[in-house]
C-alpha cells in the first residue's frame, strides 16, 4: 500500500487494528477474527451493495473518532458504518449490543417456521447458528405465523418463502453474476416475498449460486432435496475444467461413499464463497447440478470443517477407505461373514442411487429395487466356504 494513505486505528472490544480508510467496522472486525466479529445475515463481502438489512451486526460505537470522541447515540449496523481514526467499538463487551442482537434474532424468528428437521439447510444454516447463540428457548409470539403459497421457481432451485429472512443476497447474485435477473422481492412489509415474474423459471447459468449465498433454507438445491442430511455427507474439495466462462470449476463435493449427493461452491470461514486471486469462486449450474459423478471431478482432498460443526461428526477424517486386513494376513482367504448387512437391510441399497435422481425421492423409488441386491462377492464366497446363508 502506498505510504500517503494514512491507516485508521480502530479499537474493537479492546483489540486495536490499523485498517485502510473506508473499511467498514464489520470488515475490520473480520480482520481481527474470532468472537469479536459480529454475525452477518445479509452482508456478503462478495456482493456489492449487500448489507444493512438484517441488523444482526449491530455494534456500539463508544467513541466516534479522535477528533470527535462523542459516542454514537444509537447502535449502528457495522456492515454499513465505516471506521474513523481512533474509533472505539464495543461488540461482545457491550450488554446493549447483546441485548439488541437477541431482540433482532427474536424478530427474525417470528415468522420462521422452525422446520429444521425437514430443512436441507440444517447443519449449515446461519440462522440456526444465530438462534443457538442468541435465541430464546421459546417464542413470545402468539399469532399464526405468516405463510405463503408454495411457488415453483424452476427445476433446480427450491424456494421456501416461509424460511426467508429477506436479506436480498439472492437478488444481488442475480444482478451481479447472471446477465439477467428474473426474480426479485415483490410486495412489501409482512407480505414481501421472493418471487419470479409471472412464475418464470430461473434458468440462468449461474442461478445456482443463489443457493450458496442464501443464509437460511429459503433457497435450496432441488437435486439434493431430502436425499440426505448435510452431516451424513462428507465434504471434499474437487475441481474440473469447466468451459463455462466465469465458472471457476472449484467446488466442494458432498459425498456419501462414492456417490456425489451435492455440489456447492467452496466456502470461507465466514460462510461466503471463497475467492481465488481476487476473483470470487462462483460455479456454474453445469458443475453444480449435472456433474454428479466422482469421475467428473478431480478430488483434491478433504474440506476442513470446524471441529465444532456437526458436519464433521461421525466420519473418517481421511479419503481412503479403511482396508480389510484379514485377507492379507490369511494369504488371500476371505473372512467368513456371519451376516452381510446388505442382504438384510433395506437402507443404503447398493442398487439404488438416490443421488442420481433429478428430483426428491418418492416412496416408489425404494420399492422398485426392493429385491435383495446380488452381492458380487457372494458367489465367490460361497465357492470358498459353501453356502453361508441362513
Amino acid at each position: 500500500m502506498a505510504d500517503e494513505v494514512k491507516n485508521f486505528k480502530v479499537t474493537i472490544d479492546n483489540i486495536s487494528i490499523d485498517v485502510a480508510p473506508g473499511t467498514t467496522i464489520l470488515n475490520a472486525a473480520r480482520m481481527i477474527g474470532g468472537d469479536v466479529t459480529p454475525p452477518a445475515m445479509c452482508y456478503y463481502s462478495k456482493l456489492q451493495g449487500s448489507g444493512g438489512k438484517c441488523r444482526t451486526c449491530l455494534v456500539e460505537v463508544a467513541a466516534g473518532s479522535t477528533a470527535d470522541p462523542r459516542p454514537m447515540p444509537k447502535l449502528v449496523a457495522s456492515c454499513r458504518t465505516t471506521v474513523m481514526d481512533g474509533m472505539i467499538v464495543k461488540n461482545i463487551t457491550s450488554d446493549k449490543v447483546i441485548d439488541a442482537r437477541n431482540g433482532v434474532v427474536e424478530f427474525l424468528l417470528i415468522n420462521h417456521p422452525l422446520d429444521c428437521p425437514i430443512c436441507d439447510q440444517a447443519g449449515e444454516c446461519h440462522l440456526q447458528d444465530l438462534g443457538y447463540d442468541h435465541g430464546k428457548e421459546s417464542t413470545r409470539y402468539k399469532f399464526a405465523r405468516r405463510t405463503f403459497v408454495r411457488e415453483d421457481i424452476g427445476p433446480y432451485i427450491q424456494l421456501h418463502m416461509t424460511r426467508c429472512i429477506l436479506c436480498y443476497r439472492c437478488t444481488y447474485v442475480a444482478d451481479q453474476i447472471t446477465n439477467k435477473r428474473v426474480h426479485g422481492v415483490v410486495d412489501r412489509g409482512d407480505h414481501a416475498a421472493i418471487s419470479t415474474y409471472i412464475s418464470k423459471a430461473i434458468d440462468n447459468d449461474f442461478s445456482g449460486n443463489m443457493i450458496d449465498v442464501c443464509p437460511v433454507g429459503a433457497l435450496t438445491d432441488k437435486t439434493f432435496r431430502f436425499k440426505n442430511r448435510v452431516w451424513f455427507t462428507k465434504p471434499v474439495d474437487a475441481h474440473r475444467n469447466c468451459e463455462t466462462p466465469g465458472c471457476c470449476g472449484k467446488a466442494t463435493l458432498w459425498l456419501r461413499g462414492d456417490e456425489v449427493f451435492r455440489v456447492t461452491a467452496r466456502k470461507d470461514q465466514w460462510g461466503e464463497v471463497q475467492s481465488y486471486d481476487g476473483k470470487t469462486g462462483w460455479i456454474c449450474n453445469t458443475c453444480r447440478f449435472d456433474k454428479k459423478k466422482t469421475s467428473d471431478w478431480i478430488v483434491e482432498g478433504l474440506t476442513s470443517i470446524s471441529r465444532h460443526s456437526v458436519i464433521g461428526a461421525n466420519k473418517y477424517k481421511t479419503l481412503e477407505m479403511p482396508h480389510e486386513t484379514v485377507q492379507k494376513v490369511m494369504h488371500g482367504v476371505r473372512p467368513k461373514l456371519l451376516m452381510d448387512i446388505h442382504n438384510v437391510s433395506e437402507v443404503n441399497n447398493p442398487n439404488i442411487h438416490l443421488s442420481e435422481l433429478e428430483r426428491p425421492a418418492k416412496g416408489t423409488d425404494f420399492k422398485k429395487a426392493s429385491q435383495h441386491p446380488v452381492n458380487e462377492d457372494k458367489a465367490e464366497q460361497e465357492a470358498q466356504f459353501g453356502k453361508t446363508e441362513k
Partner: protein, 184 residues
C-alpha cells in the same frame, strides 16, 4: 508385607476341638438358616407368569410414534442417527406426495428407517434427540433369536399400530407409561 487395609483376617489354623469335630452343632446351625428361609418372604418371582413393573426410566425396544390421526411423526431429520453412539440407526427420506397427507405428518418422511439391534446399546439418546416426538424406547425387551438377520428392525417392526384402525393394539403398544401420563 504391610496390609493395604486393616480388614484382613488371619486364618485360624488351630486344631478343631471335640465340639467342632462332632459337626452336628454346625449342621443344626446350617439347617436353622435353611429353615428360616421357609417362612421368609421370597425375593424372586415366577417370571413369565408374574412380571415386575418396569422402572419409569426403563429403556427397551424402540417404537416409532404416530399422531392422534395415525400419521407417522418421523420426518427423517437424522438427529437420532447422529446422536446414536453405536451408529445403529440408518434412514432414507422421501418427499410426501399429494394424497399421502393422511400417512405422514410433514412434507418429508422416512421411507426407510432401520435400527440394528445388534449394535444398539439402549442408551436412549435417540429419544432425547428427536424433535418430532417420533421415537420412544418402550417397556419391551428385544426378543432373543437364533439368527442375526432378525435383529435388523425395519419400519414395519418399529411403527406403533394405527390408533384408529387398530385401537386395541395401539393401546397395548402405548403400555403402562402412557396411562400414567394421562392420569397426571
Amino acid at each position: 508385607m504391610q496390609a493395604l487395609t486393616n480388614r484382613a483376617k488371619a486364618v485360624d489354623r488351630r486344631p478343631m476341638s471335640i465340639w467342632e469335630k462332632m459337626y452336628l452343632p454346625a449342621i443344626a446351625k446350617g439347617m436353622m438358616i435353611t429353615l428360616s428361609h421357609v417362612v421368609k418372604k421370597r425375593p424372586t418371582i415366577n417370571y413369565p407368569e408374574k412380571q415386575r413393573p418396569f422402572s419409569p426410566v426403563f429403556r427397551g425396544l424402540h417404537i416409532l410414534n404416530r399422531d392422534a390421526e395415525g400419521r407417522e411423526n418421523c420426518t427423517a431429520c437424522g438427529l437420532c442417527a447422529v446422536a446414536c453412539p453405536a451408529e445403529a440407526i440408518t434412514m432414507e427420506a422421501a418427499e410426501r406426495q399429494p394424497g399421502e397427507e393422511n400417512l405422514y405428518r410433514e412434507e418429508k418422511y422416512a421411507a426407510r428407517y432401520e435400527i440394528n439391534m445388534l449394535r444398539c446399546i439402549f442408551c436412549g439418546l435417540c429419544e432425547e434427540a428427536c424433535p418430532k416426538d417420533a421415537i420412544y424406547l418402550s417397556e419391551t425387551f428385544t426378543p432373543a433369536d437364533y439368527q442375526r438377520k432378525q435383529f435388523i428392525y425395519g419400519k414395519k417392526d418399529l411403527l406403533i399400530p394405527h390408533p384408529l384402525q387398530e385401537p386395541e393394539a395401539y393401546k397395548k403398544a402405548l403400555g403402562n407409561r402412557a396411562k400414567k401420563e394421562t392420569v397426571n
